[in-house]
Amino acid sequence: MIRFDDVSKRYPGGHEALKQVSFELEKGEMAFLTGRSGAGKSTLLKLIMLTEELNQGQILVSGRNINRLPARQVPYYRRRIGVVFQDHQLLFDRSVFDNVMLPLQIEGYDRYEAARRVRAALDKVGLLDKEKLNPITLSGGEQQRVGIARAVVNRPQILLADEPTGNLDPELAAEIMVLFEQFNQVGVCMLIASHDLSLITRLKHRMLTLEQGRLIKDEHQPSRRGTAP
């Protein structure tokens, strides 16, 4: 689904954010991307979203080299990837409902079909009763769940999350992770960047560890293997 071949990224100014990173995520796989801040987690996600360009190597998504994608194809490519941001990137000039509606509006959905899907997504994150509120009135955890509903509303095959629990207390963070696992169970390929080791080691998924731009560890289901009877 997502494959990195020898990918390097150097920012203008010389900082080398990623050095020869290679890995592959299968369809329907769930993985955590971890490492200290500045290790290159955000950069890696930005390369997949095509908001940054790599300097070396190639990235294949669904078998397609995304760095050869013509500029006018990029928006259509991005619609197939759901993204959850640490600061959720919600718009406070419209309701929860309209925030979740945005990706469908962009795709030109019929409004009844769109409304049905928005409600389904809000139901999944448990916020159906708050659709009319402005997201600014919601708690941090609720705001993040609105962000997740927006990321999954057009049923992407891939979901990326950049520190989705960074601003949340442990209990809420755990709830968000449960939500992610539910999406993974219906076949969505997930890559979640997080430095919250205590949380993610408890969950039994693949873990990619970055250090100063290098992929130093790629543990497949570490805990499960460790605790197997």
Partner: protein, 319 residues
């Protein structure tokens, strides 16, 4: 590969082509309505922008109406656009009618009229009020003449006819008022040029005004554009609200200019008709007319849209 087909069938759902088309139309309508609503929500700054656009458009519109009213006089002056050929004293009637015949066949001549010496004397007596003096003269000193009515007001035509008539053996002297013809001609040319130059300069002004207003609204919606870009909005989709805003600015600015002009005409109507009455009943104060009004509104809407477009292509580059 299967993943891709899955995704595609996902995003296209089960919508038919006509449903897509309808959704697209709805999107545009919503976009236009939303743009108007946003203008309404910031009445002070919108009104300011609209007023500046309207004033910029009012100037050429005003000059156009002035020119239109002046050209009323131009066409009636064309009626008085005459060349007079005074004939030799001994010219007989056959020569005169033969000359008139030839002149009538000339393509730049619309009419000819013969004035006999007796008629000329009677006209002079009436016009000058010196009838008694004329009567005391033993002999009529006035020559016969042929008055030639030209088909247009161009100076070259008058010159051409003068040359033609001077070569006639029966013609003693040709008289025409060249100076005013030339002056009127160049004055009308000047007005036309001035209107065109003003339109060009002020169109540029309208472009800059809308462009600048759109720049501010892009800046105020930066967060929204950033998010939409991240979740896969095309540039056309992100630009659309701003293009509609520009369109509204242009259209409403044009409408405001039209209203201001109409108001001005209303104020001027009374004194203007008094003034025009001196020149004859056929003159009246003319307004923009339907075609020019349509050009004003359509042109200003197009300018607003273009200004927004320029601004968008300049300020979207950072996203």
């Amino acid at each position: 590969m299967t993943a891709r087909t899955n995704t595609r069938s996902n995003s296209k759902v089960s919508l038919s082509a006509s449903q897509r088309w309808f959704a697209w139309l709805t999107l545009h309508r919503d976009c236009a309505v939303d743009a108007l609503r946003r203008l309404w929500q910031q009445p002070a700054s919108s009104a300011m922008t609209l007023a500046v656009i309207a004033i910029a458009l009012l100037l050429p519109a005003l000059l156009y109406v002035t020119g239109k009213n002046l050209s009323q006089f131009d066409s009636s002056l064309a009626q008085a656009n005459l060349v007079t050929a005074y004939l030799q004293a001994d010219t007989n009637a056959d020569t005169v009618s033969e000359l008139q015949q030839r002149l009538a066949n000339h393509e730049r001549v619309s009419d000819t009229r013969y004035i006999s010496p007796e008629q000329a004397a009677a006209d002079f007596a009436e016009w000058s009020g010196l009838g008694d003096v004329v009567d005391t003269l033993a002999e009529n000193p006035l020559p016969a003449s042929v008055v030639v009515q030209l088909a247009d007001t161009r100076f070259e035509t008058a010159e051409q006819l003068q040359a033609l008539l001077s070569d006639e053996p029966a013609v003693a002297f040709v008289q025409m008022d060249q100076a005013w013809l030339q002056r009127l001609d160049s004055f009308l040319n000047l007005t036309r040029r001035a209107v065109l130059a003003l339109i060009a300069v002020l169109s540029l002004a309208v472009l800059f005004i809308t462009g600048n207003s759109i720049r501010t609204s892009i800046a105020s919606r930066e967060a929204e554009i950033r998010v939409m870009n991240l979740i896969g909005a095309t540039r056309a989709f992100m630009a659309r609200p701003f293009l509609y805003t520009g369109l509204w600015y242009g259209l409403l600015g044009g409408a405001l200019a039209w209203l201001m002009l109409a108001l001005l005409m209303l104020i001027l109507r009374g004194p203007a008709s008094q003034l025009l009455a001196y020149y004859g009943a056929q003159y009246q104060l003319l307004g923009m007319g339907v075609t020019a009004s349509a050009v004003l509104l359509g042109g200003s809407a197009a300018l607003g849209w273009l200004g927004a477009r320029l601004s968008v292509s300049r300020h979207f580059s950072k996203f």
